[in-house]
Symmetry: D3
Subunit: 309 residues, 6 copies
C-alpha cells in the first residue's frame, strides 16, 4: 500500500521540524544530552517482581519450586534483581545530578552503595509484610487463607510496592520510588506516596481510590477501605505561585484506627489511637483516642471549613 | 562494571540466610513442598482472553475471521483454553488440599470434571452476557453501537470476567475465581467478588471504584454507576478475633434498581424492585419497591447509625 | 495427560454448536463478514506509545538518545506510527461503514487523509501538553521536577491520551478515540470521554475515579482531584427507551476552577471562572464566577433535587 | 553514557547522506515506492510451520491434542495460515509486477486464487510426504520409528519444505518458493531449488551439503546422502554475459536410484532406473539403468572433461 | 479485506476432511490419543542452553555475573533446567511406551530417576568438555584464546551438544538425544549420532558436513576437519527390506588420529593410533597405527570396492 | 508434581559443589571477576540485522517504507545499532584487556572511537556489496532479479556478514568479528574467517561447506561453489605444541578465478588470474594465470603430497 507515497505523504519533514521547535521552546528547553538518564518503568516492573519473588518464593517463584532449590532461586533472583536495580539507581542519580540534586561524580559507586543498602533491608521488609498479610487475612471475612491474601489482594500488592518504594525514597532514590508507587497505583487503584510512613499490620481492603499523601504517618494495625483519602487541606505557595515543598501537611493516624470507605481526612491532624472514622466522613480536625466519628459528627466542621484535599 | 565485585558485593549469603529464617518464622511456616501449587495469574489472563474470544469471535478473534472459519476458530480456541484451564484447576485443587480443603486424591480427574462442567455452561454465559451488552448500549447515551459497547466498555469487561469467575466459584474453584476477579479489578477498577449473584441485563457505567461483596444478590436490569459500594456493615468475629466467614452480610438488590455514583449500600438489606438510589447516598436499611432515595432522605439513618463498610 | 481423551472429552462439537446458535440469535445477529473490521486495542497501545515518544523523545525515547539522533528517532517513530495508525483508522472506517456510518468507498484513501490530518496537528498537541505538564508541576507540592511530572503522573498520562483521542474523535474516528480513552482509564483510573473539550494547563491530581462526560467543556488552568465526576444528571430517552444521543448534558467548567476530591457536578450547568468546588460536594446547578462551594452550601439543592449522575 | 554526545557523535547526517547517494547510484537505482513489496521471511517461517502442523497435527500440533479437537485445530490453523500466506502472495505478486512480471491489477484477488489453489493441493502434499517419511524409516538403520523420522530428520524437514515450495513455484509465486527453500537450506544444509521435480518416497540422509538444481527431475524411491550435488555443468550466457535462464541443465534421475555421499552429477544427463552412484563420484554423462558407478569407473571421463558444476 | 469471504472461501471443510482421511490412511494410522506425547524441540533448545550456562557460567551466564553470585546462578539454573528436562523425559518415555518400548507405568518417577542420573553426570561432562576446549585452542592457529574457542567455535558447540545427548542416549532417552543432536546439526552443520562414543580432547574444525554414525568409536585426542564422514558402508536388511538395526557398522578411530577435510571412512574398520587420513580420502578398510593415508594410497581399494556410506 | 521433593531431589548442593571445583581446576582457572565481559551473540545478531537494514532499507526495512521516510529510518536504525555495537565493542575490549591484549583504560572512549570508525566505513561497505549482489545475479542462471539475489541468496548473506566482520577485525575487534562470522556460518554453512581479504564482485553459489581461511587473499570477480575450501596445508607449532599464530598460510586467489564445487586449495599458493579450478580438485601448488585445472591434472601432486587442510 502506497500510504504517503504520493506528493507529500505525512509531511514528515515539516512535522519533525515543528516538533523540534516545540522542544526547544519547551519550559525546560529540552536537550537530550544535558538531561541525565531517565529510569525505565518497564525495568522497575521487573525489579519489583524479582524482589517479591525473592521475598515470597513459594508464592511468586516458579510453581514447582522445591525446598532443596529455594535458596538457589532466592540468591540468583536477588543477584539479577540487584544488578538491574543498580542500573536504574545509577540512571536516577544521573537524572538528579542533571537537575542539580547531588553531583555527577562517582555515580556507579554511589548507585552500588545505595543498592547494597536496600539489599540489607530486605529481611526487615519481609518481616513487616508478614504482619500486613496476617492483617489482611484477619481483616476480611471473605479471605479463605493467608496464602490467598498474599497472592490475590490488591491491598497487599499495594503495600508490598510501598514498603519497597519507601526504602528507596528514604535511601535517596525518590524518582524510582515514585515510579514504583505509580506501578502499584496503575494496578490496584491505590495511590500511596512513597514518603508516607506506615507501621506494621497495615491493611487496605478493596483499595480503589485510596490516596495517602507524602507526609502521612500511620501507626500499627491500621485498616483502610476503598476510597479513603489521607490528604492535604491546602498548601502554601511561594511568591511565584509554586507550592512550597516538603512541609508536613498530611494526617497522623495512630495505632488501631479504622477508616471506612470514602472517608477523607485532610491536613496535619491527628486521629487518636483506636478511633473509628465512618464511611464518607469529611474530617479536617484532630480527634482524640477512641473517637467514633460518623458523618453526623463530622458535618459541623464541614459547614465551618469545607476546603478540599 | 564490577558491581559487587569487591569485598562483600551484595552480601548475598547473608541476605539469603536471613530471608530463609524469615520464611521459617513466618505465620504459615512456609515450606514449598507442603504447600500445594499456586495457580498462575498470567495463565488465567490468557484463559479469560481465550474464553472471551470463543464467546465473541467476531469481536475478540482475529480481525479478518470469516464465517467459513469461525467454528474452527471457536473449537480450537476452546480446546486450547480448556486444556490450560484444566492445569490451573488442578493446581487450585492441589492448593486447596494442602490447606485442608478436599483431598489430594484424583486431582487430575476432578480438575477435568470441573473444567468439563464449566465448558458446558459457556453457552448460558454467552446468553447472559448478550443481555448485559444490550443493557450497556441502552443505558449510555454516549454508546454508538452494541459492538462498541462490547469492545470498549470497562463495565462490560468486568461483568464478562465476573460471569466466568462466578461459575468457577460455584463449581469449587474459588481461588481461580478470585484471581480472575482481581484481573478485572486491576483493569477496570471494578471489584466484584465472584460469589456475588447477578441477574441478566446488568450494567455498570464508568465503573471505577465499584465494590460488590461476596454475598450480594442482584436482580435483573440493575444499573450501577462509578464508586458504588454494595458492602457489609460490620462482621462478627470469633473468640480469637478472626472474622466468621460465609454469613450473608451484603445487600439484596431487586430487579430494575438504579444506584447512582458514589452511593454506598451496606449490610444485608433489601433494595426493593424499581428503586432509585441517589448519588453519594449512604444507606444501611432496606427500602421498599419503588423508593427514590436521595442524600436528604438517607441522612437521618446516618445520624443514628453511621458505621462504614 | 489424557484430558478429554475418553468418550466425550470437552464435548467440543456440542459447545461449538450451541455457541453458533447463540451468535445467530444474538441481538445483532453476528456475522463476521458483514461486520467490518474491529480495530486492535493492542495496536492502539503501541500507537499511543509511539506518538508519546515522538512528542517527548527525551522522556519516552531510548534512554541514551542524543541530540544528534533525536530528529531521526522522531521521524522514524512518526512514520512507523502513522502507518500503524493508518491501518487502524481504515479498520475503524470499515466498521463504521458496516454500521451505516459513512460509505465503504475509498477506505484506504480516507484513512490516509485522516491520519495525515492527525499528523499535522501533533505539534499543537505537544504545545498544549507542555502547558499541562507545567500545571502539574505547579499544582503539586510533592512534585520534584517538571520531568518527573511528565514521566510519572497518571493525570498527565490521562491527559496525553485524551488530547490524542480528542483529535481522533473530532476528525471522525470516534471508535479509535474511545479505545484510547479506555486504555488511559485502565491504566490511570481516569475516565475522560474523548468528546470532552479541555483547555490548556489542565491538571488532575491522583486521578482515580475521575469521570468527565462526552459533552463537557473545560476552560484553561482547571484543576481536578481524584473522584471528581463531571457528569450528566439524567438523559431523555426516545419512545423505545433508547437514550437520545448527542445532546449537551455535561457541565461547562470555566477558566481557573478547582474541583476537590469526590465532588460531583452534574448536568449542563456552568461553573463560573475562578470558582472552587469543595470535596465531596454534590452540585447540579450553575454557580457564578468566583464561587466557593462547600458541602454545606451544596446541601440545600440536594434536598431539593438529589438525582444521580 | 554520553556516546556520541560530544562534537560529532557518529556523524549520522554524513553517513545517512552517503548511503542515500549509494542507493541512488545502485545498479537498480533503488526507490522504495517503485519497488513493490518484499515478502517477509519471518512470516514465511510461520506459514510453513502452520502448514506442517496442519498436515501432521499429532507431531507438530500442541503436545496434548486429542482426537476430539484435532479437526478444529487443523481448520483453525489452516485458516490463519492461509490468511498469512495470502498476504505474502499479494506482496510477491506486487514485487513481480514492479519487476515487469504480471500486472498490478487485481493483486488481492489473484493472490486469493493462488492461495486457494495451494490449499486445494495440500491433501496431495500430505500423501506424498507420507511416502517420504516411510522411505526415511526404511532407509536408515538408526531410525527407531516412523514418528521419530518425521519429527527429527533434517532430510524429511527439507523435503517437507520443498513439496510446499514446489507447489508455490508451479502456481506462480517463485519468490516465495525460493525463500521457503532457503529457510530449509539454512536449517538443514540441504539446498533444493523449488523448481526441481521430485517423485514419491524420496529420502535424503544426513543431508548437509546436498544441492539439487532448478531443472532436476527425480523419479520415485530415490535416495541421496550428504554432500550430493545434482548440478549444472556449465551454462550459456547471452551477448552481455548474463546467463540464459530457464534451460534444462540439471540431471534426470530415474526411479530407484541411490547416490552416495559426496557424489556430483552434473548437466542434463540421465541416471537410469535402479542405478547406484558411489561416494565422491564425479559424473557428467548419462548411465543406463542398473549401472553401478564407482570412482574408478567415473574417472575416465573426468580426465576428458573436468568442468565444474 | 474479505479474503475467503465469498462463496467457498478456502473450502476449509473439504480440506479438513481430506486431511482427516489422509491421517487415517497413513502408514501409522495416526491417532493422537494412542500416540504418547512428543517432546518439544523448543524446550530442548532451552534445556541445552541451561545446561551449558550451568557448566560454563562465566561464558554463557549473564555478562556481569560475579564470583559471589555464581553458585546461586548455577544452582537455580540447574534446578529450572532439571525440571524442564524432567517433563521432556516424561514425554519421551510416554512416547516410547506408546511404541511398545517400556511400560506406561510410573512414568514420572522413571523420568525423575533418569533426570537425576543425568544431573549426577554433569561434572564429568564438564571435565570432558574442558579437554575438548583445550584441544580446539591448540588445534587451530587462528584461535586467540581458550575462551574464544569455547564461545565461538561450532565444533565445540557440536561436541557440547553431543556429550549431553550421548548421556541421554545411554540413560534411555534416545529420542531426546536425537533431537538435541539435530539441534546441533542445524546450527553447526555437524551431524553426530548420539550413540557415538567419543574420547577426551576431541576437536572438529569448521565442521560443516561432518557426519559421525551411531556405532562409531573415537579415542582420545582425535581431530576432524569439515566434510569428514565416519559412516556405514552398507547395511543388511531383513526379509521385508527394513534395515536391521543396532549392528556395529561404523569405524573405530583410535587415539591421536587426524582426519582431513572431506575424507570418508566407511564401515566397521579400525584406524590405528596416530594415523593421519588425508583430505578427500575414501577409505573402507582398516589401517594400522601410524598410517599416513593419501588419496593415492586410498585409490586402489576404491577401484576394487566403491560402495557409498 | 513433587519432582525432587523427596529425600535428595537433584542433589543440587553436591552438583553445584562439584561444578565449582571443576571451574577452579579448569585450564583457565575461571574466575568471573577477572575475566572481562563476553559479548552477546544475540546482540550481534541484532546489530548485523540493523546494519543490513540501514544499508538496504528497501529490502530489509519495513515492507511499506516510503521514499519520504527512508532517511529517518536509516538514521534512527544506525543510531540504535551504533549504540548497541558500542556496548559490544566495549565488552570485547574489556575481554581483550583481561587476556592481556590492550589496556583496561578508557574502554568506553576507545569503544566509541572504534564504533565511529566502523560507521564511517559503511558507505564503502555498501558499494562493495552492490558489486557482490550484481555478481550473484549474473553468476546464477536461476536468479530472476537482483532484488531476489540480495534477499534470498545465502552466499550474499555470508558476504554481507563478512564485509562487516572484516572491518571489525581490521579495526581491532576480532572477537566480535569472529562471532559475526559464526552467525553467518550457522545460517548459511559458509565459514569465512573475518581476516580474509576479499575483492569486489565476489559470489558464492549454494555455499554449504565453503571454508575460507584467515590469511586468504581473494581478488575481484571471483566465484566459488559449495564445498570449496581455501585452507592451510599444515602449520608450524612452537616448542610446547601450540600452533604459531598469524603466519600467511592460506591461498592467494587472483581476479576472475572460478573454483567449482568441492575443490580444495591448500597452503600459501597463488591461483593465477582467470584460472578455473574444477570440481573436487585437490590443489596444493600455485598455478599460473589462465590455468584450467581438472582432477586429472591435480592428481599428480596428490600422489606426491597429500596432506590435508
Amino acid at each position: 500500500m502506497s500510504a504517503g507515497g504520493g506528493a507529500g505523504g505525512w509531511e514528515l519533514d515539516r512535522i519533525v521540524a515543528e516538533l523540534r521547535r516545540a522542544r526547544r521552546a519547551g519550559t525546560s528547553a529540552e536537550r537530550c544530552t544535558s538531561r541525565g538518564e531517565l529510569p525505565s518503568r518497564e525495568a522497575l516492573v521487573g525489579i519489583v517482581a524479582g524482589l517479591r519473588a525473592a521475598l515470597y518464593p513459594a508464592h511468586f517463584g516458579p510453581p514447582d519450586l522445591t525446598d532443596e532449590a529455594v535458596d538457589y532461586f532466592v540468591g540468583q533472583t536477588l543477584d539479577a534483581t540487584f544488578r538491574a536495580l543498580h542500573e536504574q539507581v545509577r540512571r536516577a542519580l544521573s537524572f538528579d545530578a542533571a537537575h542539580g540534586v547531588g553531583s555527577r561524580d562517582d555515580l556507579p559507586a554511589r548507585a552500588e552503595a545505595l543498592t547494597r543498602e536496600l539489599a540489607a533491608r530486605l529481611p526487615r521488609v519481609r518481616s513487616l509484610l508478614d504482619t500486613d498479610v496476617r492483617a489482611a487475612f484477619e481483616g476480611d471475612p471473605a479471605a479463605k487463607s493467608v496464602d490467598e491474601t498474599l497472592f490475590c489482594y490488591p491491598g497487599v500488592t499495594a503495600v508490598t510496592h510501598h514498603r519497597i518504594a519507601h526504602e528507596l525514597h528514604v535511601l535517596g532514590a525518590p524518582l524510582l520510588a515514585r515510579i514504583i508507587a505509580e506501578i502499584a497505583h496503575a494496578n490496584t487503584g491505590v495511590d500511596i506516596h512513597p514518603g508516607a510512613q506506615i507501621g506494621a499490620s497495615f491493611f487496605i481492603d478493596h483499595g480503589t481510590g485510596v490516596v495517602i499523601g507524602e507526609t502521612t504517618v500511620i501507626g500499627e494495625r491500621v485498616r483502610l477501605y476503598q476510597g479513603v483519602t489521607l490528604g492535604a487541606k491546602s498548601f502554601p505557595v511561594d511568591e511565584s505561585g509554586v507550592p512550597i515543598k516538603g512541609r508536613p501537611r498530611h494526617p497522623v493516624v495512630e495505632d488501631d484506627v479504622v477508616v471506612y470507605a470514602g472517608a477523607s481526612i485532610l491536613g496535619r491532624v491527628t486521629i487518636g489511637k483506636g478511633s473509628s472514622i465512618g464511611g464518607n466522613v469529611w474530617l479536617t480536625r484532630s480527634v482524640p483516642p477512641g473517637s467514633m466519628i460518623t458523618q453526623a459528627q463530622a458535618r459541623s466542621e464541614v459547614f465551618a471549613d469545607g476546603a478540599g484535599i
